[in-house]
Subunit: 146 residues, 2 copies
DNA sequence: CAAATCTCAGCTACACTGACATGA
DNA sequence: CTCATGTCAGTGAAGCTGAGATTT
């Protein structure tokens, strides 16, 4: 292989991971990868406003609004007006949403763990690197805003 | 932070990298991240048939056919019938395509290198892990086909 | 006739921007 | 009035499948 740059390799890696994940999730849970991420993040955040959720996902408000409409229709989340603020909508996972989020997570994790095993990669090392990079991005973004 | 799984963290990381990459590329080169990947892969492969390119990218034939039409229109690639096979189309980067691919690569690499530096991550380590995982995916795919 | 390669047509998921309504 | 929040409308980039044409 040619001396490809790390950024390119990493990009290719995750593109492929997403594709595989997409397929597996479709079969095992019936939802898409993107929707699964939605549910994961929501599970992590608990009950939040749509705007807050949009920020956490890095999406625009309208994008979240539309995606939520679908997820509500499918029974995975509920939205309710914030009693303390007439404009805000509080978003929460339903029990079905919780359940499918957990299931989707297990499916993806199992798949990834197997890959890590096959590749003979140190999961702790990978995890540490990934976390550092994510934090660095967050840092940088914070700096750019100020 | 909650004990998020490595696969999830990695997915989030690259989603964010792609988003940043998309923005920077737009500004600095005028092309999208996906198109850049197209050009990168083509540069790596040299002159190939559309079908071969589709396999390398993991896309369907029609997807490649349409993307190529755009890239030809923009002058980044040329397609020519294979003299040895009346049905095949040979795809090649034009000089402009080469140039923009190189420029896009530099832009992305510079950005990523800075991030790696900020995060205080060992690039060699990251590179090694990424390469191992990509090879493991390729291995697995080969096995599943047979 | 079968297989490989490319294109056409139609469709879907998912994201964005800009404009707007509404409540704090 | 202005900011924050959410929705509506329109649009775009990029992928898919299924069907068809053409060449081997």
């Amino acid at each position: 292989m040619a001396p490809e740059s790390t950024s390119f390799l990493l990009g290719r890696l995750v593109t492929q991971l997403e594709r595989e994940g997409e397929q597996i999730l479709r079969v095992e849970t019936g939802i898409s990868y993107k929707r699964a991420v939605f549910l994961f993040v929501l599970r992590f955040l608990g009950t939040v406003t749509q705007h807050h959720l949009a920020e956490a996902l890095g999406y625009s408000d309208p994008a979240v609004s539309m995606m939520l409409r679908e997820l509500v229709k499918e029974g995975f989340v509920t939205t309710a007006p914030d009693p303390e603020h007439g404009r805000k909508q509080l978003v929460t996972l339903t029990p079905e949403g919780q359940e499918i989020a957990i299931r989707a997570r297990h499916v993806l994790d199992a798949h990834f763990d197997e890959l890590v095993r096959l590749a003979e990669v140190d999961d702790q090392q990978l995890r540490s690197i990934t976390t550092k990079l994510i934090m660095a991005i967050a840092e940088k973004r914070k700096k750019e805003l100020s």
